[in-house]
Structure formats: C-alpha cells, structure tokens
Point group: C2
Chain length 700, copies 2
C-alpha cells in the first residue's frame, strides 16, 4: 500500500511559484495553507520576494531551513522538470503539480509529462497531478490547493478527476451544509490515481464514505485489487462519466457486439462492490446518507406518513428500488391499533392521518423501529393545519438515538410551514428531502452496500488441475507462424479441449472423400461447416449442412457447401470443410470473451444460437478475480438459467458443467492474453455434461 | 365538453357550514374566499350567525339575496344530502363537497356518496369531491378551499387526487417561486374526475401545462378520449402512483401473465401522448420547463460549459434521455474558432474554459442558438476565480429573448459564488439547476411532447368490410349454452376466421378413425392436439403430436395422446383430439389480448412459441382508439420485428398481413366484450400471409 502520509499531513510544505499578487494561483495557495490552520511549516519559494503573506520566502527549494516533505508546484510547465529535480534532490517526498500544460495540451505536453514522471521516479517522489487543483484534508488540516474556500469538516472523501467539479462541489457544499474529510483533485493522473486515494481513504479514520468522480480508470487491475479490499471497509460511490463516448470497439465477435463501451466499467464496479451513482444528485445524496446514518441490516423499510398519497409513492419507490416494505409483528400492529385513531392505517405504510401532531409520529416511529422486522424507516410529513414540524423532527432525532442501528430518513413535503422541522433535521443526523423518492434511493444504496460488505469473501481463485498448456502454446505457435489472427474451428476446438472444455471433435477435410472418411470415423449423422477464418456467419452463406447420415450425403454436402460459399464470397480463402459429429440438441448457450483495454477479459454468458444478438440475453463478468460464486450468479441473471433449470417439464441441465466450462474459459483467456476474442456458440448443455459445438477464437 | 365556468368563476358562492371559529374549516374557506380577491358575491351560510368575517351570514342556501351559482359544503356528512337537495332547489350549479366521511370510510359511506351523487344528478348539479380540499384559480381569482395559503399566479394547472399533496405542493411552491393557474383537489371523484379537469384546463387560456397526481383513473374511455384531444393543445404530465399494488390479475393466459398491473396505465398514457413523470421532482421540473420555456422543435441539444467534466456528464445524459448532441454548421464552428481561445472545444459540448468570463458564454450561446441544427441549449457554469455568474445569467436571458423559439436551461454548479446568477435566472424565464441531469431530463420531456403534439393525427379508426358477426354470435351462443368459459381450439379458430384472421382449419375428432378421416381431408402431414378447455400447456402433458403423415400414424397418434393426457391429468374432461394441417414454419409470433378494468382490451404482440414467457418480447397497445400507425409502431418495438424484416438473410415476412391480423383481433375483442382473454400463439408469418395456428379464447 502506497504511503500518502507526507502528502496529506506533511511536516512542511514548499510552495514553488508562491506569489504576492492577490488572485494569482501562487498567492491563493499560500493564503489557503495559512488560513486552513495548517500546523506544519510553510515555505513560500520565490527568488524575488523576501516574504509572502507574512511568511519568510526562500529563493529555491534547496534553500529552505529544513527540507520540505511535500512541495506544491505552481510554476510554468516549462520549468517543472528543473524544479522537480531540485525537489527530488532536497528530499521532497510528494509533489503536487498544480501546473497545467501537460498531457491535456497534446503530444509535446505528453512528452513533458512523461519526463516529469521519470524525474519523480528517479527520486522516489510520488506525484499528484499535473494539471490539478490540489488537495485538502480537514482533519490534518491542510489546504494545498488554489480553490477559493475550505470545506467544512466532515467524513466524506471526495476524489475528482475534474478540477472544476472540485470547485463546484466545494462551493455548493456550504449551502448544503456538507462536510468533507478530504478533497483530492486528480488532474492528469500521471502517477497517483484514483486507486491510490481510494486505498488511502479506506484506511483513514476520519473518512466514512469515499466519493469519486472519474472519466476513466488508469490501471484496471490495480483499481480492481484496491477497490475489492476497500469496499469491505467503507462504501465507495463513483460517478463515472463518458458513457456516450462509444469507444469504437471492434465488434467482430458476438460477444464484442453485445458488450458496449461502458460495459466493462459497469461490470468492474458491480463485481467489486462499488456503488455507481447514475446522477450527480444521487452521488451526494448517498454521500450524506452514509456519512450521517448507519448501514441498515437489510432491505425492509417502514414508512410513517400523515397522508395517503405520499405513502403510496414511497411504497412504489421501495418496490422499484429493490427494497421491501417491512411486515410488522403482531405486537407492533396491536400497539399501533391501540393508540392510533380507528381510521389510521396501522400496517405499512403507517398513516397517522392528517390531523396528527408530533406525538403520533413519535409513537409510531418508536414502535416500527422497535420491530425486529424493520431495518430502516422513512417519515413523510405533509403540512396540515395541525402539523408540528419541529416537534416531529425532534421525535425523529430521539428515535435515531434510541435505535442507533436503524437509519431514519425524512421527506418534509413543503416549504415555509415545515421550515423549522427541516432546519432541525439539517443540523442533525437525519437527511431530509422535499419528496420521498430520493430518500428511498438513498436507503436502497445503503442496503445494497450492506449486502456487499457482509458477503463472505470467496478467497479461492479458479484453479483446475488438468490444463494442458503445452498443446495451447504449440497450436498458437503454428497459427502465428501462419500469420493468421482467426483460428480455424478445428484449431479452436483443440485449444479449448486442452483446457478441459468438452469441444466436439472437429476434422478439417480438403476433399469430398476426406469428408466422407472423417464422417465415418466420427459416426453419423454429421454436420459440415465451411472452414474459413474470414467467414463469421457460416449459415448465412450456405456454409453449413446438418444431419448428413451417409458417406454419400457427406461428399455431396462438401461440394454444395464449397459451391455456395464460392458463389456468395468468391474472393474468400477457403481452408476446406469441417466435419463434426452431430450432437443431440441441448439448451443452446453462448459463452464468449471480449477484452477491455483497462479491465482485461470480459466473459459473457447467455442464450446461444443464431438469435444471440437478437435476444441479447447475456450477463457479463470480468475474468479478473472471478470466483465460482460469481459465475453462478452470472448464470442466474440470464433467461438461459430458466431453461437450464428445466423449463416447462424439461429435464434440468448440468449447471455444474456450465459453471466449470465458464471457469475454464476465464482461466484460458487469463493465461493466454494473446486470445483477444472468443465465442463458444452454441454450447449445448445436457442433463449430463456440456458440449462446445462451435468455437471461434481470435488472437492478436 | 362539461362546462366548468360556474365552478372556477361563479358569480356567487355559498359556503355552507361557514364558521366564526378561527382554524375551523368553515372559517378558513370564508377567509380564503375574501383574501384571494374574489370579485363575486360570497354568502356564508350558518343559521346561528348574523355575520362572518365581515360578510352577512344567511341561515340557509335558499335564503341568500340571489341564488348562489356554486356552493361549498363544509358540513358533517350526515347533513350533506339535505343540504345538497336544498342547493339543487336553489339553482346551485356546482357543489364542492369538502366534507369527508364518504366512500373513504367504508360501505355506509359509499352508500351515502351514491345518494349524494343521485341528488346532484336530479338537479343537474355537478359535484367536486366529496372529501377534498377544494379548488383555486388564480386568474378568476377564487380560493374555495381550506388550504392555508394561496398560490402565486402562474400557468400550471395542478390536479390532485391526494388532498395532502395539494397542501404540500402549495406550501413548497412559495419557496420554489412556482406559480399556478389552478389547484384542484379531486377527493373521491364521485362525479367530476381528472378527465373533466384536464379537458377544462386544455381550453383555459391561462394554463400552459397540466399536472396531475392520480392513484387511479375513474372512467378509462372518457379519460382516453379527453386526453387524446387535450395533448394536442397542452402538455399533460401525470404522476400515477400505486404501481406496486400489484392488482391480483388472473394470469391464465400468456398475455395476462405478461401484462403487469401497471401496464394498462403505462400503455394508455403513452398511447394518448401523456408524459408520465417517474418521480415527484420530475413532475415539477417538467412543469417549470413547460411553463417557462418554448417547446423545442426537435431533440438536438447544444451544451456550453466552462469545464470539461460537467460537459461529459451532460453529453451522457443527452444520449441516455433520447436526445441528440447537436452538430454545428461550419459557420458556427468557424465563428467559435475565431473568437474562443485555441484550447477551447469548439464542437459540442462547447468548452469556453475555466478562465471564461460572461462574454465568452454570451458569444458562444448566441452562436449555437443561431445554428439551425440546434433546438435547445444548456449552459453549465462552474465557479472559478473569474466566473461572472450574474453577467452570464443576463447573457442567457438576452439570448432567450433573441431566440424565443429555443429553450435554454442552466446548471449553475455551486452555491454562494454563483448565487447572484442563480437568483437572476430564478426571477426570469430560465430554469436553473445545481446539476446538469435534471436540465437534460426536462429538455427530453419537452422534446418528447413536441414530437407527440406535432404528429399528424390519424383519424380513421380500424374498419374491415368483411366481418361475419353472425358466426361469432352463433358460436358464442352455443358455448354459453354449454356453460363453458374456455373455447375449444376448433371454436376459437372459427371465431377468428369469421373476422378474417387466417386460422388453420381445425377439426375435432372423437375417435382414431375420425382423426384419420379428418387428416386425409386436411392433407398430410398433420398435427394432433388434445382438445380440452382445461389444459393450457398441451405440449407439457404429451398432448401434441406433429408431422404425422399417414392415416395410420394419425390414428396411433390419437390413442397415444389420449393415453398421455389421461396419465398426466386423470381427472380432466377431454373433448377429443384436434386435427390440423401442419403448416410450414414461419416467424413465430404471439398476438394476444387481456382486458383491463379501466381501459378495456390490451393487445399484445411479440415473439411467440413456447418460450414466450421466457423471452418476454412483447409490446402492448390498447384496442381503444387503435389506429394502423400505432399497430406498426407496436410491431417495430419488438425483437420479432427484426425477424419479420428478414434476419440474417431470411426472406422478409408479410408485415402488412401481421398488421391486418392485429387490427382484426382488436376489432373482434372490441365488438365482443364477452371475450376476456385471447392468445394466438403461435401465429406464423410468411413472406406471403400469416397463419393462426393455435387460438385460445376465454369468455365471461
């Protein structure tokens, strides 16, 4: 784990490019360091000034009275290398490069950025930025940034790839009354990335929740490794933008076509338990929820309301957001019945009626929170003539204290008439919204996190005792020597077979006679398929014949296929015709692999056959860190699962064999990064075992 | 159309149950009528008081100096009939029954409500409520409600089934600075329903947008008729709650099982062009958008931002919400290039950079709004050191005036530092949000409405010249006499054939010999199917045999089927075995019908076959008002459409025949309300024509 102590709480900080001119970045940083109450030493560096903002100024980093532990760079990009070198020599451990003019400006900037990183690495200095706003930590305290303002102290760490977002959120947070533990502006992420700061925040005793805005992830496997561990300690909520920048992903395989550009991120986040915020408001609603409230034990929500309509809206939202309406025990219902008016609804949602004062809310909330079948509660208040908003808010605060393990949210649906209640809640630990839905969304995110956090970790990685790497290597060697990127069916079958995947034996025939001969060996009936790495959809060009049950049919079939394909695709190189024993029909599946630049192989599973792109019944997982339980979950997310379990009286299929095959595919493409894409389509699942009928593999 | 003039702007209003005691409903209403500035005459009615709030009080409704045009009832429910009778006799035209204690309290209350309605009908009085908050119209002005407060004048009509929601939104609206034309609390909807008020608001010159909160619709066909016309004039946005109250819909047919309880509402709203808000915040964001902004011509959005990150977030949101990023003309791009700094992004989203003052925003916004390829614009402002929020806001207002046909939205992402800009916008015609996404959601709703409004109306209803109603009636007559609710396949085939739907002729055989005989008539090969109204899934019980190509196979098949079914379902009554000519394989479709209590027959179309419930590839439309274009749209929403157009080299199917068949099904179930459920599954579509292979019909 990277030690960021001297970044967030250094004993001394040098500000290179410090300035006397108000408004200049080099001036703002000095002021920020002073005004935040930083307890270490600040050394403004400027050869032309004796002092800045009351602090002694030094001509260069190597002239400070003691070596600076951290240095902030606010000099022109052109001077950054020289300064970084000097910092390194003087023993600086962390460099915060505010300076812009690097990668973001084009090729020359990128070159400069690489050199800056090299310099840092030479001196074992870690680098934040360049091209960033800087960082803050309210608990150190430190404000090594040029942001105008300093956040309220709090327990939210906000890590942002966008500097403007840091400025926006900081400014907005004062109005929202939101406190932060850390603010980190990542900039160009030349060295330190989101992963480093997530890892650090997960260990930070002052941080309860980790918030990120990112546009990409720098190092996929490092990110996954860090995030998997970190979510067990603290919730990580990420807003990832850039969904629409449809990375022009080559879609030569079924799996590739099914996997959109955003899919790898979506899968990665889900697989390591990161909560993905869909909108900015959701990011911050969740941040507040986690900062202020305990994580609910499970997903059962109680609603207390003084009006029917909002109660129904909350109920709808609870069902839509994967939560459940709590069912009360008999004791709870009896207690509510005894005390509430006869017209009140004593089941969930509890309707204390429009004429309810605070006491009814207090009583009902107490009863539902005491109920062991309730994990969280939402209180909905409409302004009627008798509503007591402040007292109702106080009742909620009392109940939060009495039941500290159960989160309580509020929707105070109104303005002036409820203002006192809204203020009371804002100052305390209960998030209050105008409408019910965001409260439910917050609970849903929390319940979701609780489930992820408490899931027992399956440590054991996929391992298989019987893999024949040698055969795979030898086959790939031949293909590379042949200068091909797409494997023949027979080659692909050989490779997967070497990894214990039961591919149907496939013979490559070069003449009608050879085909007939192979067919006899394999046993009738057989299937013939054109062999050509250039043809993806063989059926579409008349390149497939099924159910041939004699030597004669086979040799005729050979000729017809060659004729068909020549007619459709006169210029395509044909390798002959593949002969395969015809398998009995099973549940038709696809198991595929595509490769993401950041996160590596992405495994697809779902309904197979020629309609795979039409049906789009596919679930995805990253091969990285894939465990058996995840494979089972992946299968269960598809409609294919319904078929596998035995649909409408059919025998159940051998799901273990499917799990095993997916695991072996994941292992194969992890062991052989040369394999860029792969489709097993179809694979037939039987009540005993599985068969891979058609295997396509592309290498790089 | 119902005339509501004397409800919203009566010449005189009697308040029955007026009171002197502050806080009492009868007192609040009198005060509200006075303080809102109502210009007609107010007659408080109370036999014990000479005057109330300075107005002369009258002992009863028939003792007022002139007949009241409208009367507000604030008396106990028990007295309501007597008062209503007296109102009727005195010539009151509209009754607003605030009084509670009716349907909402149970059976007796329901009885009382029916009597109240009868009384009103006797005197041709229209009734709002009972059990409501009342109504307001800021343009009359009138406030015949007990709400504490009176809305700002505005152009939003808000119609609510929940009284509490009226109080909440009213209170909240002052903070939000939102004005309303009307507030209507529907109460129990004994007489006047949402449809009446939607119809009225559509004609109201002071209303620009119609907002509803409803939990159900009272009269489905009236609602549809009204809404279809109204949306051509004004946007209707509805929040419909109660989605989760999973109406225990009997799911005996495929179609029934596929249609959830909320589906009829969803379909009805979509089919008549109502915008459905998913959350309360969306309801009001859209209201503001429509009230303040013009409807965009189309869906092309320009983004102007001073920061990259928010620009990407907006771009994502635009793609997700069915909008498009505008592509600028060469002129626009050249102009932006000439004036903006070299590092600025001059394509969409336009990034004017963090050091932009108001002038760069002004210039860029002007250029993009002038571009003919831009229909709307969003301006994103992050607070940097040099941001000029007020001037930027003013630039936006100026541009709104210069380009009055193009809506402009803002996201001012910050707090104090942007406050002046936010205030400037709040006072004017530009909705301003904290984050970009709700701005995009609002534009999306507006663009969606624009498309609906401008769609040429297809007046022509479905009509077919060749329908044989007599056969349908005769067949249904026989079945009813037989006391059956489920038709045999042969009967169902006869009925649909009478409506011109090409069902495969089906013969009911009672013996192996008969089956063989029929098979010979139909022509080999044939299909045999068990005939029993009690068996839904015939394949699952061994009740189906296909591809029988001789008399011998048929008679053996007959016996096997009877044996199978007897073994599986020993107690089920069997009618024999149906013999059907085996049809060549086509694209397998389902065309089904289920019936909704409010909206009548709901037509389903999608991929058919035994996997229909697994694949769930089904689109729905109401038969009510269904036109050919909607049927075509319905087909195009399914994956079946991809197959019908000819998937992977297959011949295209006869889509016209599919459209025709769906139309005939809709006509059949509209003409015969006795048909409660129907499944044609499968129907085979061919390159020429269509065949209904298996038709199931249930009647009531």
């Amino acid at each position: 784990m990277t030690d960021l102590t001297s970044l967030f709480s250094p004993k001394s900080v040098a500000i290179v490019g410090a300035s006397k001119s108000p408004g200049k970045i080099g001036n703002v940083i000095v002021k920020n360091m002073i005004s935040c109450g930083y307890k270490g030493k600040v050394f403004p560096i400027n050869p032309k000034e004796p002092e800045i903002e009351g602090l002694s100024c030094y001509p260069s980093v190597d002239k400070t009275p003691e070596p600076a532990e951290m240095a902030v760079l606010a000099v022109p990009a052109a001077r950054s290398l020289e300064i970084a070198e000097m910092c390194g020599k003087s023993g600086v451990k962390h460099l915060v490069a505010i300076t812009a003019g690097f990668k973001e400006t084009g090729k020359e900037g990128l070159e400069l950025e690489r050199k800056l990183l090299d310099t840092c690495r030479n001196f074992k200095m870690r680098l934040l930025g360049p091209n960033c706003v800087g960082l803050m930590d309210t608990h150190t305290p430190i404000n090594a940034s040029f942001a105008a303002g300093y956040p309220l102290e709090g327990e939210i760490a906000f890590i942002s790839q966008s500097g403007a977002m840091v400025l926006s959120i900081l400014d907005w947070s004062f109005r929202a009354g939101l406190g932060f533990s850390k603010f980190v502006s990542l900039g160009n992420k030349a060295d330190l990335t989101e992963a480093h700061f997530i890892e650090d925040a997960a260990e930070d005793p002052n941080t309860k929740v980790i918030l990120c805005y990112i546009e990409d992830v720098e190092d996929g496997s490092h990110f996954l490794e860090v995030a998997r561990r970190a979510v067990k300690k603290k919730p990580i909520i990420i807003l990832k933008s850039g969904i629409s920048q449809a990375g022009a992903q080559a879609a030569s395989s079924h799996t590739g076509a099914l996997a959109g550009s955003d899919l790898a991120y979506e899968t990665a986040f889900r697989q390591c338990g990161i909560i993905r915020a869909r909108e900015m408001s959701e990011l911050f609603d969740l941040a507040v929820a986690f900062a202020k409230q305990p994580v609910p034990r499970s997903n059962r929500v109680a609603v207390v309301t003084n009006s029917g309509g909002p109660g129904i809206i909350a109920t709808d939202s609870i069902e839509q957001k994967n939560l459940a309406m709590a069912r009360f025990t008999k004791e709870t219902i009896d207690a509510l019945r005894e005390r509430l008016p006869a017209e009140a609804n004593i089941y969930n949602p509890v309707d204390v009626l429009g004429d309810a004062k605070a006491d009814r809310f207090r009583f009902s909330l107490e009863k539902v929170l005491a109920d062991p079948g309730v994990d969280s509660a939402v209180v909905l208040v409409c302004p009627t003539a008798v509503t007591e908003p402040r007292e109702t808010a106080r009742a909620m605060l009392d109940m939060r204290r009495t039941y500290p393990d159960k989160p309580v949210f509020a929707a105070f649906m109104g303005g002036e008439k409820l203002a006192e209640g809204i203020e009371t809640l804002a100052q305390a630990q209960i998030p209050c919204f105008t409408f019910p839905e965001p409260a439910i969304t917050s609970i849903s995110g929390m319940a979701n996190y609780g489930r992820i956090r408490d899931m027992p970790e399956e440590q054991e990685q996929l391992s298989f005792p019987d893999l024949d790497l040698k055969t795979v290597k030898a086959t790939l060697f031949d293909i590379k020597r042949d200068n091909r990127l797409v494997l023949l069916g027979s080659e692909a079958a050989e490779i997967v077979s070497a990894y214990g995947i039961p591919a149907v034996p496939t013979f490559l025939a070069n003449s009608p006679e050879e085909a007939a001969e192979f067919a006899e060996q394999a046993g009738f009936p057989v299937v013939l398929k054109i062999a050509s790495p250039q043809i993806m959809h063989k059926t579409d060009v008349g390149g497939v014949k099924i159910g041939l049950s004699s030597r004669d049919e086979v040799s005729k079939g050979f000729i017809e296929i060659m004729d068909n394909v020549h007619r459709y695709l006169p210029r395509v190189v044909l390798y002959g015709v593949e002969v395969q024993k015809m398998m009995p029909k099973g549940v038709e599946l696809i198991i595929g692999v595509t490769r993401d630049v950041q996160f590596g192989p992405l495994i697809a599973f779902g309904l197979g056959g020629i309609y795979v792109n039409l049906l789009k019944d596919v679930a995805f997982r990253l091969a990285n860190g894939l465990v058996t339980k995840e494979i089972e979950k992946m299968i269960s997310e598809t409609r294919a699962y319904t078929l596998l379990r035995g649909y409408r009286g059919e025998k159940p299929s051998d799901i273990n064999a499917v799990v095993d095959t997916i695991g072996r595919v994941a292992k194969l493409v992890t062991d052989f990064p040369e394999i860029t894409e792969m489709d097993i389509n179809p694979a037939f699942a039987y009540s005993q075992g599985i068969s891979a009928l058609d295997v396509k593999i592309t290498i790089s």
